[in-house]
Symmetry: C2
Subunit: 206 residues, 2 copies
DNA sequence: CTCTTAGTTGACCAGTCAGTAAAATAATAA
DNA sequence: TTATTATTTTACTGACTGGTCAACTAAGAG
């Protein structure tokens, strides 16, 4: 079976760390290799291109976000409303930690790549689109739970409400990053609940 | 007085066009020069660095957005509610035009640069922060008008509501760009009105 | 012990990056 | 007309870009 290696893993972790903090184009393959202690030849042994690495890094970021954030919250014993609140609190914690340890609010790594690369790389755009659809699915379930709990009216449209909430969260990340201020998320977070109000289903017209 | 030139202007226009469509790091000085028909030496005669050009381009983008979008809407004869609606419609038009003529939804050029460069270049971050504060100011005035029109309760906090709306609009741009779909803005736009509901002033604690 | 497979290494490529320096050229003001 | 000032042009830097290649090495399987 030949020899084993953790180089691939180290490169993925470095990519997540460096690209999240700066940007795709600001981090070169060379720096990625230095940071992970891997030679450039090994890099291209594991990844056909920087772009391919980025797609895998995106998958990993999303997986980490689900297991570290969405799943625990979704599976917790609380109302949908409380779950959204917990999400906001956790987000604020992460952003504060960023600011404390890295010196700046980095926002949402996935959203960052979305804006930087969507018009440039269709494969990456589609990957992020897929992630956003899954993410919206989580919120949809939460909203459906909320309707069942009697906390939201039955006319509420789970899908469009979920999309609106994702948009709002990404917007808060963008503002928080621009102001380099983690408190943006916590101060404006309650807006999520407002986005749930009176959003009625609209019948699709063929 | 020496000779005159429109090279500076052409470079700024090229910068806005190319960087808005792709990204800061994806567009080089060389390409900027070729696109504007200016030699590299002239580029550095007018701008000390690519970064300095970008700051000026940001100012110009914001000025264009104000004169082409915010000011006409703000000065129009209609209710604040209608003005927000017009803003959404116009945004949708711009995004549709982007998709038709350039092949993709480019989102908000200012927001794009915010996410790409905020952690990398403090001067640019502060410039965009300043723009966002001015932008929020426009929305604040609209919300105050709305309160005076009796359309929103007097307890509404204009400042935080304005910030929430800006976040939401930037979030819609991000989603629209990721889905490469201009209809995101129009479908979810009504959320702006929801963000105005029951947002109460909180007394500042020293 | 050897063959195979997987991973490592370092040298190398052409192209591009932002930015520089100096000479050449217009236009205007005196 | 001449001096001054603003703009243009060309040629150039050194560092870095993503990516390639072939030789080398270590580990497990037969």
């Amino acid at each position: 079976m030949g020899r084993t290696s953790d180089a691939k893993e180290k490169i993925i972790e470095s990519a997540i760390e460096l690209i999240s903090l700066r940007s795709y184009n600001a981090v070169g393959v060379q720096e990625l290799c230095e940071h992970s202690g891997v030679k450039k030849g090994s890099f291209y042994h594991f990844f056909p291109s920087k772009r391919d690495l980025t797609v895998i890094a995106l998958d990993r970021m999303w997986a980490n976000f689900k297991t570290g954030m969405l799943d625990p919250i979704y599976n917790s014993e609380s109302t949908a409303r409380e779950k959204f609140q917990t999400l906001l609190e956790k987000s604020h914690e992460y952003q504060s930690a960023d600011k404390d340890y890295k010196g700046c609010v980095t926002g949402c790594s996935i959203g960052n790549l979305a804006l930087e690369l969507s018009t440039q790389d269709e494969v990456i755009r589609l990957k992020i689109q897929e992630i956003f659809k899954e993410w919206t699915g989580y919120f949809e379930n939460l909203i459906i739970d909320s309707i069942n709990e009697g906390d939201l009216p039955v006319e509420t449209d789970p899908h469009s409400t979920a999309q609106a909430i994702l948009a709002y969260i990404e917007g808060l990340s963008l503002l928080g990053k621009t102001y380099n201020d983690p408190s943006v998320t916590s101060r404006l977070g309650e807006g999520i609940m407002q986005l749930c109000i009176t959003r009625k289903k609209v019948k699709k017209t063929a």
